[in-house]
């Protein structure tokens, strides 16, 4: 097996894992979601009872299971990059498939959760908490959908042939996928657990 770990040194400022361009996006996304979550916290300070009661209307099990699913998918993605750098594209594509399955499962669970919320009338106009809940989780869900699409594209490219470009592209896709994880790790406790 060839060692294909010949992407530019990640110890350079201009080459964080996945490349500088994806990191510009990561920084912007984290700041955007972070700011929105702080706005939610400020609103909650004005009306703690409403936020507490509304938080209790969410099923924290959905959130917990989705966290497990997303983190496990992230683990498979990290494993895929690791084995790909060692030149093993068969195993890498298998791990990618597991990561994709995680993304699909997340979407399935979110659909169940949304259906339940809509059925009970907890829509975007229900109150301020649910306005934040719908906007933030839907925006995140779009990222999961885009991420799953990227991973699917990578799967077909990794399965076919392994080149330094494939490794680089997979690393960039992995960084996007881990960013989706990071955003969820901020959303999950704030929306489902702490108020």
């Amino acid at each position: 097996m060839n060692n294909l770990n010949n992407t530019p040194s990640s110890a350079s400022f201009f080459y964080p894992p996945g490349g500088i361009l994806i990191w510009i996006l990561i920084v912007l996304e984290l700041i955007t979601f972070g700011a929105a979550l702080i706005a939610l916290g400020i609103q909650a300070r004005h009306d703690p009872a409403l936020f507490h009661q509304s938080r209790l209307l969410l099923n924290s099990w959905y959130g917990t299971i989705n966290t497990v699913v997303l983190l496990t998918s992230g683990y498979f993605m990290a494993m895929s990059v690791h084995v790909l750098k060692q030149g093993n594209n068969k195993t890498a594509s298998r791990y990618l498939l597991y990561a994709i399955a995680g993304g699909l499962l997340f979407m399935g669970i979110k659909t169940l959760e949304y259906t339940e919320k809509i059925h009970h009338g907890y829509t975007i106009g229900y109150n301020t908490f649910f306005q934040f809940y719908w906007l933030l989780t839907l925006f995140h869900l779009i990222h999961v959908m885009v991420g799953t699409g990227i991973l699917t594209g990578l799967y077909f490219s990794v399965r076919k042939k392994i080149t330094p470009e494939t490794v680089e592209n997979t690393e960039t896709g992995a960084s996007f996928w881990h960013m989706v994880d990071l955003i969820w790790l901020l959303l999950f406790p704030v929306l489902y657990l702490i108020f």
């Binding site: 964080p16 924290s60 497990v68 983190l71 496990t72 683990y75 690791h82 994880d181 901020l186 406790p189």
Partner: protein
């Protein structure tokens, strides 16, 4: 490396379960601990899964400062 990634995943699972349990316990400090655990998980994913551990120091400082600042702001917002 494979083992290291597996152990990181295991720690993440344990921390997620602890957070889920803390959320149903009526305890004054639960929210603070949940936020602290979330920050810990955020750093574990960034450093270990994303590979920030091997990146230029700027990116390590960015990840730690962002997550630390987020936690600090929420700690302040939670104080009644």
């Amino acid at each position: 490396m494979k083992k290291r990634l597996f152990y990181v995943w295991l720690i993440l699972m344990i921390l997620t379960i602890i957070s889920g349990i803390l959320a149903v316990i009526e305890w004054r400090w639960a929210a603070y601990i949940i936020l602290f655990l979330a920050t810990l998980k955020f750093n574990l994913v960034a450093f270990e899964f994303m590979g920030v551990r091997q990146a230029y120091i700027f990116w390590k400082i960015f990840v730690m400062t962002f997550s630390g600042l987020f936690m600090l702001i929420y700690f302040i917002l939670l104080v009644r």
